[in-house]
């Protein structure tokens, strides 16, 4: 069980940002994910990719945090893309019926 959460941010250009997440996203760590996402959602960026290749576990608070990105995309016309979901994380999105609502790409970004 990974109790810490780490991030790697790659600014590909002025409009495209990749955020790689490392660790479990839970009620205790999701505020850190929100801290990382918030400045991106307030910036004039067209596309945010969140790479979840290294996330083994995500609970409802993690999903709720990512829903804020979904809201941003709908309000601004931007793209909020999730990639690299493990079988366990994808299962949670499917259980929540959110796998068809988010833009989810197979494979890693």
């Amino acid at each position: 069980m990974d109790t810490s959460l780490r991030f790697e941010r790659v600014d590909k250009d002025d409009n495209h940002v990749l955020l790689r997440v490392y660790g479990d996203v839970t009620i205790h760590t999701s505020p850190r994910l929100r801290e990382q996402l918030k400045p991106l959602l307030n910036a004039s960026i067209r596309e945010i990719r969140v790479a979840l290749d290294h996330v083994g576990f995500m609970d409802s608070s993690g999903i709720a945090t990512l829903v804020e990105g979904l809201q941003w995309a709908r309000q601004t016309g931007g793209h909020f893309i999730l990639s690299g979901l493990s079988e366990n994380v994808r299962d949670v999105f499917e259980l929540a019926k959110l796998d068809t609502v988010f833009e989810i790409e197979d494979g890693s970004a």
Binding site: D59, L95, A96
Partner: protein
């Protein structure tokens, strides 16, 4: 690692369980999640559950504990008793059971049966409130809640015998 969230632990024989009953008395804080996750890993392994199902059980236990911590105790420390065992249901099927008992001053006023009936079908993705309870009800085979005079009693039950056929239709 000995966690400061554990106040008492016991492991007793359980008439219907071949692995006994594990009982923890915890002081509700974030360390408890780690302890509970370890307990879930042990019990789902003993139940012979596959990794995906074990993850679903972990989600349900995590979400229920988080719900108690956030809503029953408003994020403040509080006493929670936790029990888990593998037993037999009345119809002879094996089941993995998790009991939670909190001593919060206010009983939870929701209705788990209604949430289980609704499942996750009626859901606005932009309003994720209540998602945790819906996830619990979608992965557990039975969820029970009882308001007590001095708190709440919660029970999650997962059937074991049909685990090759995961709940949800996969």
């Amino acid at each position: 690692m000995v966690s400061n969230c554990i106040q008492d632990v016991s492991f007793s024989d359980c008439e219907s369980s071949h692995v006994g009953k594990l009982c923890l008395q915890m002081n509700c804080n974030s360390d408890c999640i780690h302890v509970l996750r370890s307990m879930v890993a042990v019990m789902t392994a003993r139940a012979g559950m596959a990794e995906l199902q074990s993850n679903r059980v972990a989600i349900a236990v995590d979400e229920l504990f988080a719900n108690i911590a956030a809503h029953a105790y408003n994020g403040k420390p509080g006493r929670v008793e936790f029990e888990t065992w593998i037993g037999n249901s009345e119809d002879g099927c094996q089941e993995l059971v998790f009991n939670f008992r909190d001593y919060a001053s206010a009983g939870w006023g929701g209705n788990l049966e209604e949430i289980m009936k609704a499942g996750t079908e009626v859901h606005d993705p932009l309003s994720p409130g209540g998602l945790g309870l819906r996830l619990i009800c979608s992965v557990a085979d039975r969820c029970e809640h009882e308001v007590c005079a001095d708190g709440n009693r919660w029970r999650l039950i997962f059937n074991i015998n049909d685990r090759e056929q995961l709940k949800g239709g996969e």
